[in-house]
């Protein structure tokens, strides 16, 4: 590892650490209705939204009503987007006269953007009209809101006593949109423009290059889309090349700014969580577990990428700069690795390098980040929620060891909670492994693989892990636009999001009904290093136990075949 590379990564993370407390405190104020500096601007808008939609902000919802509201909201977005994509040929703002998408591609894309996955089986600039791109931007604003609402419902479940309601879904998403998503994305878009990204609705530009060949340069509202795609941990870029495209990330400063945007909300929510439960140490403990997983993964991947490929080395090729295949040379291994481990951790799915070309162990880190269930910060609300599920399981197993019925933040963890937490882990494992197995044993699935052998296995595994985790980044290599993959990955995205919501909300309702046990010396401590270590152990062991066999046949087989000198 090089000193500037390590410094870049550490410096970047120091910025995240710095903004977590103030931003998390701001979010806490927003959701508890405390005054904020934006109130004068936004309160009238909030009131107008409620008046227009007929929502009574004081109306509390039971968990089933909350879930219903969430599903209706998401389904409406999904159907609307599907309609726009199918009908874009007949709709305005289509200067290049692109026809409507095929049903499977439209389904895949609509599901992808409704679930905050933003898996892109289509190529943005080569198949979507400006209106379709704008519809995608709208979904990029809306889809993260549900995640926050879920988290807030869960936090209310943790802190309320003898209660039967979990808040109001419409209020949660309206506040998030007006106080968080719109203002920050707006400012961030301006910053991105200042850093060199275009923002226009101009026709594509045709140029003759110095070499004399013709090139079409895509234009469009790039800054706006990039801003919300990173802030909302969406990852659906304007361009197919995503952040590696010079318009999406014109320079390292822009790239780092986008990284900070992506981390901002998930990191800040850990502090909000601490405030919410009345003990910020609880939030920092979760933050620490996430940070350790993130940094360990990033440095490991960076190390493997710098170590390069032994096969090239043996051929006498100078690989002192590391594995540069598939990396954007403007950013080099450190930034590229940082960006792509971040993308798999924070679940925004935008990439700055071709993951397909990572060294096997480098890609192992990316896969592992995905397979934890996207709990290393993760996307808005959902990442923290997933981590809290791990925390509940950790508390249950280890909590018995202190000789009391396990409790988390004063709430007893009973059979019902364990059942729901287990469900949130069983279902994704089942879907990821099941669909990967299906892809690797059917002709349609095998036809889409870009490589044979261990690498092909990694490609398919990555696609479903990314789908279930609602990450949206692609390993590359895989032909994701075939009907087999558009349908199955679409299914993975749906199952990855909604069936996870139901047990989490049901658990929140069960927790809300409970009385809280006051803390004492006999209470299992869930702050401090012991708990951080326990939580880390839980995430690593549970995830690793599930996926060790498949990873052995994928990246590990590839790695050891390389070092052994054989073909993978």
């Amino acid at each position: 590892m090089t000193v500037p590379g390590v410094l870049t990564i550490l410096l970047f993370f120091a910025v995240i650490l710095l903004i977590t407390k103030p931003f998390g405190g701001y979010l806490y104020r927003v959701y508890t209705g405390a005054p904020t500096f934006l109130d004068r601007l936004v309160r009238p808008a909030e009131a107008a939204v409620y008046r227009l939609t007929g929502v009574d902000p004081e109306q509390e919802m039971s968990w089933s009503t909350f879930l219903l509201a969430l599903l209706v909201f998401n389904l409406a977005g999904l159907l609307l987007l599907y309609a726009v994509l199918r009908l874009q040929g007949f709709l305005p703002l289509n200067p290049r006269h692109y026809p409507g998408l095929s049903p499977d591609l439209a389904w895949n894309t609509a599901v992808s953007f409704a679930t905050n996955t933003n898996w892109q089986a289509y190529s943005g600039e080569a198949s979507l009209s400006y209106l379709s791109q704008l519809a995608l931007v709208v979904q990029q604003f809306l889809s993260p809101l549900s995640g926050i609402a879920m988290l807030l419902a869960f936090l209310r479940g943790l802190t309320r006593r003898n209660a039967s309601t979990l808040g109001n879904f419409w209020v949660d998403i309206t506040r998030t949109l007006l106080w968080v998503a719109l203002p920050i994305a707006g400012v961030a878009a301006l910053v991105l423009v200042a850093l060199g990204s275009p923002e226009n609705f101009l026709p594509y530009v045709h140029v003759t290059t110095l070499a004399g060949s013709h090139q079409t340069i895509a234009q469009g509202p790039v800054a706006a889309m990039t801003s919300i795609m990173q802030l909302g941990d969406n990852g659906g870029g304007f361009f197919n090349a995503n952040a590696a495209h010079p318009y999406a990330a014109p320079n390292a400063a822009s790239l780092l700014f986008q990284l900070v945007l992506g981390f901002s909300v998930p990191a800040a929510l850990t502090y909000t969580f601490g405030k919410w439960v009345g003990d910020t140490r609880q939030g920092w403990a979760v933050f620490a577990a996430m940070a350790i997983l993130f940094l360990a993964g990033t440095f490991a991947a960076y190390h493997f990428e710098l170590a390069g490929t032994p096969a090239l080395h043996q051929l006498g090729i100078n690989d002192q700069l590391g594995n540069l295949e598939g990396k954007e040379v403007r950013f080099g291994p450190a930034l590229s690795t940082l960006f792509d481990t971040s993308t798999t951790a924070v679940s925004w799915g935008s990439t700055a390098a071709a993951n397909d070309s990572f060294t096997p162990l480098g890609s192992l880190v990316l896969l592992f980040n995905l397979l934890t269930g996207e709990v290393i910060f993760g996307s808005w609300g959902v990442g923290l929620l997933g981590m809290l599920m791990y925390a509940i399981l950790a508390v249950f197993i280890a909590g018995l060891m202190v000789g009391r019925t396990p409790e988390y933040l004063g709430k007893k963890i009973g059979a019902y909670e364990v059942k729901m937490a287990v469900l949130t882990i069983v279902v994704p494992t089942f879907v990821i492994l099941g669909l990967t197995a299906l892809a690797l044993s059917t002709r349609a699935g095998l036809a889409g693989l870009g490589n044979p052998g261990a690498h092909g296995l990694s490609e398919a595994l990555y696609a479903y892990a990314s789908g279930v985790g609602n990450n949206g980044s692609a390993f590359g290599g895989l032909n994701a636009a075939t009907p087999f993959y558009t349908w199955t990955v679409g299914l993975a995205m749906l199952i990855g999001r909604y069936p996870m919501y139901i047990p989490a909300l049901a658990m929140a309702a069960s927790l809300a009904r409970k009385q809280a046990v006051p803390a004492s010396a006999g209470t299992f401590p869930t702050h401090g290093w012991l708990f951080v270590v326990l939580l880390l152990g839980m995430v690593v062991v549970v995830s690793a136990l599930d996926v060790f066999p498949v990873l052995s046949l994928g990246p590990l087989a590839e790695q050891f075949a390389r070092t052994a000198g054989g073909a993978p």
């Binding site: 202190v402 494992t429 197995a437 004492s520 010396a521 136990l545 052995s552 052994a564």
Partner: protein, 685 residues
């Protein structure tokens, strides 16, 4: 406190083990196995590998047969060991129940029918019948004494041979079927139908036929079933991945992997842990009426302890003589001594003993002929002696003051009352001593805190459990004793209503409350508490309100009960952690063995350098099976519980069972691999 325990059965008890082995064999019936999802999966796997072995035999592939047959054998042993663990725990309970059943023989009862006594079999008695029980008779059923008083031998229930008094009225009116009247007679109203008596319930419980799973046990079972389900999915998808990668791994390998990954260790021992918890309490002579109550005991965070008999010895003792100004200590001591000679109460005897030891006084030194003794009575609240013109009295401060005024003397005044208040404040009780018309001073009676109790209260405090002392004493005295014992809170001048209020307040705050009770007026508070231990000497209504009964009637045992409750939970958590941690090493044994034929490079994962793929898999399976019987003693005994803060306990157990659970199987599997390689078992190419 040392409490008498029943004789502990040695772990290797021959007949018990043989019976358990037979039971374990019978439990292989899949219909029975179905109640334990983890072991049911293992049994299914055993069937599958056995069928696979037969297939190889038919195909005459003897090397493969030898390997698969050995795997099948060890899988069957895994199931057998799990059943054996449960059977051993049940067997130990049954052995204890058998002793009780001996007393349950049918007896003849003397039933009153229209005022006449008629002899009927005890099985025909119904609730409300009144029977006569005379010396030499066995009490025919549970009931309440409605008339008379008798000495009973309750050793059949309590194991304690000293006779106890049972009489009508008051808090000692409950009798238990199967106990024996030694002298006198009593009339008993039957309070339980045959088959529902205390003894019946105890036998049922101990035989664990009616043992229902506790909430934590159910939650843990769900987790284990969930983990098993995940591993079924993981293992089932290995085969398509392997086929894609070039070569199927085969049924036996997959099954071995599944069984090793599934949490078989805790799955096998879970029910044994629960059963043995009840047995451990029974050895301490406590019968829990449900497993749920034992578990709740581990969760308790407030313990209400009666002062008298629990925290302090029942009787107060004289500690010092405090003369008033103008009187000498020796004169006070002598007066106190003489006035207490006729006082047969423990307090009176302690005054005599203090005077004898500290001032060398003895009754022989006085010619007490002609003395008139006034023994202590509740009416006068004094005792004393009239001797050689000296009128000496000793008693409650206001009683003595009244006596002096009546005798024409001066009121002892403020000095005496101030001294008396000082004694109260220090947790003692003052007694005044007077001679003729003059008050000489005070005797300081002190509550004696049971030895070793302060340490136990302190350890409860460390474990985050709040202790509350309940006493009828006034606020000042209660405060002083509370401070001396080290309890966190106290309830002075306690009445049944105050107790109930206190419990409900604590429960509203989310705390779980444990208490001990014996009297009828304790019943409402007991019914409200989460853990209520009834004393066996208590009334029927107290026994019914409690969810545990202490046969020794030793209220200090509540602390033991809490510790046993915690121990059960800790044992479950520790073995679960251990079981899951084991999986790491098993992966490193089995995965390379499975995949080396596909990718030879993966031999890099064989970090234990196991001899061959076959020996690696067999070693992992053998380790997985053998760890179960190895841990049976631990699950029956329970993990050691040291009272400490949760963080300290967690750190210790996490290190021992978490880290230990990761490391031990690496060592164990390697050792077994070396052993089976050296033995040259067939089929391990």
């Amino acid at each position: 406190m040392s409490s008498r325990t029943r004789r502990e059965l040695p772990f290797w008890n021959g007949p018990l083990m043989r019976r358990a082995a037979g039971d374990a064999w019978r439990k292989l019936d899949p219909r029975w196995m179905f109640h334990n999802p983890v072991m049911f999966v293992v049994e299914t796997c055993s069937f599958l590998t056995s069928a696979d072995a037969v297939r190889y035999l038919v195909q005459e592939r003897y090397a493969s047969f030898a390997f698969v047959a050995q795997i099948a054998l060890w899988l069957w042993l895994t199931v057998f060991f799990a059943n054996f663990a449960e059977a051993v725990a049940e067997g130990r309970g049954k052995a204890q129940a058998a002793a009780l059943r001996g007393t349950k023989a049918q007896t003849a009862a003397k039933l009153f029918v229209n005022g006449e006594v008629r002899s009927v079999p005890s099985t025909q008695l119904r609730v409300g019948d009144v029977v006569l029980v005379e010396a030499g008779d066995v009490v025919p059923g549970d009931g309440t004494v409605v008339e008379g008083a008798a000495m009973l031998d309750e050793s059949a229930i309590t194991g304690e041979s000293a006779p106890v008094l049972r009489e009508s009225g008051g808090d000692r009116n409950a009798v238990t079927g199967g106990t024996k009247v030694l002298s006198d007679w009593i009339r008993v109203q039957i309070t339980a139908n045959p088959g529902e008596t205390f003894l019946d319930r105890m036998i049922n419980l101990i035989e664990s036929q009616s043992r229902r799973k506790t909430p934590n046990e159910i939650a843990l079972e769900i987790l284990l079933a969930g983990l098993t389900l995940i591993f079924v999915v993981v293992v089932a998808t290995v085969e398509p991945f392997a086929i894609y990668s070039g070569r199927a791994v085969g049924l036996t390998m997959l099954v071995a992997l599944l069984v090793c990954l599934a949490p078989t260790t805790i799955g096998a021992l879970l029910s044994a842990i629960g059963i043995s918890g009840m047995n451990r309490l029974l050895r301490r002579n406590v019968v829990a009426l449900s497993g749920r109550a034992i578990e709740a005991a581990g969760d308790v965070n407030v313990i209400m302890l009666d002062k008298t008999g629990t925290l302090t010895l029942g009787n107060r003792e004289a500690e010092s003589f405090l003369p008033l100004p103008g009187a000498s200590e020796a004169a006070l001591a002598e007066a106190a001594f003489l006035s207490s000679l006729s006082d047969r109460t423990p307090e009176g005897r302690s005054v005599v003993s203090l005077a004898r030891h500290r001032y060398g006084l003895s009754a022989q030194a006085y010619s007490l002929h002609g003395a008139t003794f006034h023994p202590f009575s509740a009416r006068t609240r004094m005792s004393g002696v009239d001797w050689q013109g000296r009128i000496i009295r000793k008693g409650a401060v206001d009683a003595v003051a009244e006596h002096l005024v009546a005798a024409g003397g001066p009121d002892p005044g403020d000095a005496l009352r101030r001294m008396a208040a000082d004694i109260s404040r220090s947790g003692g009780t003052p007694l005044a001593v007077s001679e003729n018309d003059r008050c000489l001073g005070l005797i300081h009676l002190k509550d004696i805190v049971k030895t070793g109790l302060k340490e136990r209260i302190a350890s409860l405090h460390t474990a985050g459990i709040k202790t509350v002392m309940i006493t009828g004493d006034n606020q000042l005295t209660a405060q002083a004793i509370a401070a001396e014992v080290g309890v966190d809170d106290f309830l002075a001048e306690a009445t049944p209503e105050k107790k109930l209020d206190y419990i409900q307040q604590e429960k509203a705050r989310g705390n779980l409350v444990a208490m001990v009770g014996d009297g009828t007026n304790d019943a409402p508070a007991m019914a409200s508490a989460d853990v209520a231990v009834a004393m066996n000497t208590g009334t029927q209504s107290a026994r019914e309100a409690g969810n545990m009964i202490d046969l020794d009637s030793n209220p200090t045992k509540l602390i033991d009960i809490v510790e046993v409750g915690k121990q059960i939970l800790i044992t479950r958590g520790a073995l679960t952690t251990f079981s899951v941690a084991n999986d790491v090493a098993k992966y490193f044994a089995i995965l390379p063995a499975m995949f080396i034929p596909i990718y030879p490079g993966l031999s890099a994962l064989n970090i234990m350098h196991l001899t061959s793929p076959q020996s690696a898999v067999l070693a992992a399976v053998i380790f997985n099976a053998a760890i179960i019987p190895a841990l049976i003693p631990l699950s029956l005994r329970g993990v050691r519980y040291r009272p400490a803060g949760a963080a300290a306990i967690l750190r210790y157990n996490l290190l021992l069972y978490g880290l230990g659970g990761v490391v031990l199987p690496f060592v164990g599997i390697k050792a077994i691999d070396l052993l089976i390689t050296a033995l040259g078992l067939p089929g391990l190419r």
